[in-house]
């Protein structure tokens, strides 16, 4: 029952600007793929083309192989959760959830039954008669999710669905969302600008930049082996070196090639011994911050650069003390320029 969602060379031009500049993407049945990127990267426009609110300038959208590119939104079986939730303000919780079923001509008794089950699934019992403005943010979000799920959509589209929740609620809600999505086996496209959110719940992440997918892969692959400078910088904390040699630092990577090199802070170890040879850099400890899970030290190198420092379990380094950073050759990841 799960659906494949395929985007083939999707493009959207507004006059001379290309909001989306050729996106190819295949979402497998039951898979959750995140479109991750900064604002203006084209992720929302891509999602809206799948929903049918934006007509692509070029390319095709396919659901289970059927071309839906020119189908109006109400003829596509896609459930969408909007960033603002977009609940119907004059309808009760139950009526909001029933809306899609009524449009589909589902018999009244079945509507009542399915709404009841959705209300129970999302723990909205007792709130059925409330209007949206009488609900908390978290409850509104659950109504928006329920309204999209109750129609048994072929694909689920999530447009920054957690961004209006406070930090604590956001984490529990995204786990809940992921649990629902995988138990229902729903093919899902999820737009977010929050890399931690994308990493936490996605099967794969498509990092978008300037209207294109810059890299697509599992969260681990994207984090450990970012392909480009942009991806490396956008996801996680990163030290990026443009040359193999700069004052006080010589890089000796295990792999050849690359226009730049990535070194993740947690791959760096600090010690007090003098630096000798490659993959080591002597400098001065500048700031030491205790983060609870570790102590974070940043090191000023002779070049003046202040790289993202390692998290250490010791408090042995004081600001101003000399220290040497070391890393494995394998910790250096080659990056493409673009």
């Amino acid at each position: 029952m799960s659906t494949t969602l395929t985007l083939e060379g999707i493009e959207k031009r507004y006059g001379a600007t290309r909001a989306v500049a050729g996106v190819d993407l295949a979402v497998a049945p039951g898979e959750l793929v995140a479109l991750l990127g900064p604002s203006g990267c084209g992720k929302t426009t891509t999602l809206r083309m799948v929903a049918g609110f934006v007509e692509p300038t070029a390319g095709r959208v396919l659901m289970d192989g059927a071309d839906i590119t020119r189908l109006p939104p109400h003829r596509r079986n896609a459930g969408m959760v909007f960033q603002s939730y977009a609940l119907f303000p004059h309808l009760s919780v139950a009526e909001n959830i029933a809306f899609g079923l009524k449009r589909r001509g589902v018999p009244r008794a079945e509507i009542a039954d399915r709404v009841r089950r959705m209300v129970a699934l999302l723990r909205l019992e007792g709130l059925e008669a409330r209007l949206p403005r009488q609900l908390s943010g978290g409850q509104q979000q659950r109504v928006a999710v329920g309204r999209a799920l109750v129609i048994n959509p072929a694909v689920l589209l999530l447009d920054e669905p957690f961004s209006n929740l406070d930090a604590l609620l956001r984490e529990s809600t995204r786990i809940e969302m992921r649990r629902l999505q995988s138990s229902l086996g729903l093919t899902t496209l999820f737009v977010t600008h929050d890399q931690a959110e994308a990493m936490a719940i996605s099967d794969r992440i498509a990092v978008m930049h300037q209207g294109r997918i810059e890299q697509i892969g599992t969260p681990r692959a994207i984090y450990d082996r970012p392909a480009t400078r942009f991806v490396a910088g956008f996801i996680g904390r990163a030290n990026i070196f443009d040359a193999l040699r700069e004052p006080g630092v010589t890089l000796a990577p295990a792999e050849e090639g690359g226009a730049a090199w990535l070194l993740r802070p947690e791959r760096i170890a600090l010690d007090a011994a003098p630096a000798e040879g490659a993959n080591a850099a002597a400098g001065t400890v500048e700031v030491v911050s205790f983060l609870g899970t570790g102590t974070h030290a940043s090191l000023r190198l002779p070049s003046g650069r202040l790289p993202e420092g390692p998290a250490q379990w010791t408090d042995q380094f004081k600001p101003g003390a000399p220290a040497t950073a070391r890393w494995d050759a394998a910790a250096l990841v080659p990056l493409r320029a673009a």
Partner: protein
């Protein structure tokens, strides 16, 4: 600090009171003198009597004029509401070249004195057989102001409505028209009532166009009053005017009640 704020508060309160007195004073004079017992208009009223109301309500010219006005204003309100709302939807939802210019053009009749419009319409209709004379032409004239009034109210209301709510309805299977009817229209309801009330009150109270363009056989209440005020300025005119004022007040009250819900 407290005394300053209190002083400022008193000043503002006094200014508001003066403002309201200035606006409502003449109306109060009319309403008050309509209850007088003298055969001429006096303020403050001398004695108390409802006989001028009785006279106004039994005079076929006033009663006939009232129903003509009621029909006229209802027609104008309804047509203005439909045309104005659809225009507002187009102006807020569609992006086309000259949109801002068109909006300014639509609203421009509001800045013209209705007398100017009335003269222009008289000249215009004199040279065209476009509409049958009398009431149809008067309705067309009133729409020139009624539609902009509706637009004035509906444009900001429509701009405030969250577009994604309509998109959500479409996403859930409603056609664009159904989505508009089921989701957007209910959100517009308080605005619609206010807009219709404004157009209604304008049309009901308008004199110049009714004098110039309307037919003598189907004279609205304002024209009857205008004539009466010139011919025999007795308290019946004041009583009929008071009834008009009270009707407008009632409409505004209803509008408040409806927009609260």
């Amino acid at each position: 600090m407290t005394s300053l704020r209190n002083g400022l508060g008193w000043l503002l309160w006094t200014l508001s009171a003066l403002g309201f007195a200035y606006i409502l004073g003449p109306l109060a004079v009319i309403v008050a003198s309509s209850f007088g017992d003298t055969g001429y208009i006096a303020f403050p009223p001398e004695g108390f009597s409802l006989r001028w109301y009785q006279a106004a309500l039994t005079d076929p010219r006033y009663v006939g004029g009232f129903f003509i006005s009621l029909r006229l204003a209802s027609t104008v309100a309804l047509l203005s509401l439909v045309i104005g709302t659809l225009a507002a939807v187009a102006l807020t939802r569609l992006d086309f070249p000259g949109r801002a210019l068109l909006e300014a053009l639509f609203l421009s009749p509001l800045i013209l004195p209705t007398l100017v419009l009335a003269v222009a319409l008289t000249l215009f209709f004199a040279s065209t057989p476009l509409l049958p004379g009398g009431t149809p032409r008067l309705i067309a004239g009133h729409l020139l102001v009624g539609v902009p009034l509706v637009l004035r109210v509906m444009l900001p209301v429509l701009r405030r409505v969250d577009r994604s709510v309509e998109e959500a309805a479409q996403n859930l299977g409603a056609s664009p028209i159904k989505a508009f009817l089921l989701v957007t229209l209910p959100a517009l309801r308080p605005g619609l009532f206010a807009a219709a009330a404004l157009a209604f009150i304008f049309s009901f109270d308008e004199v110049e166009m009714a004098l110039f363009v309307g037919s003598a056989r189907e004279a609205p209440l304002t024209v009857v009053l205008y004539g009466a005020a010139q011919m025999q300025f007795d308290p019946t005119v004041v009583a009929a005017s008071s009834l008009l004022i009270m009707l407008a007040g009632l409409l505004m009250l209803l509008q408040q009640v409806f927009s609260r819900r």
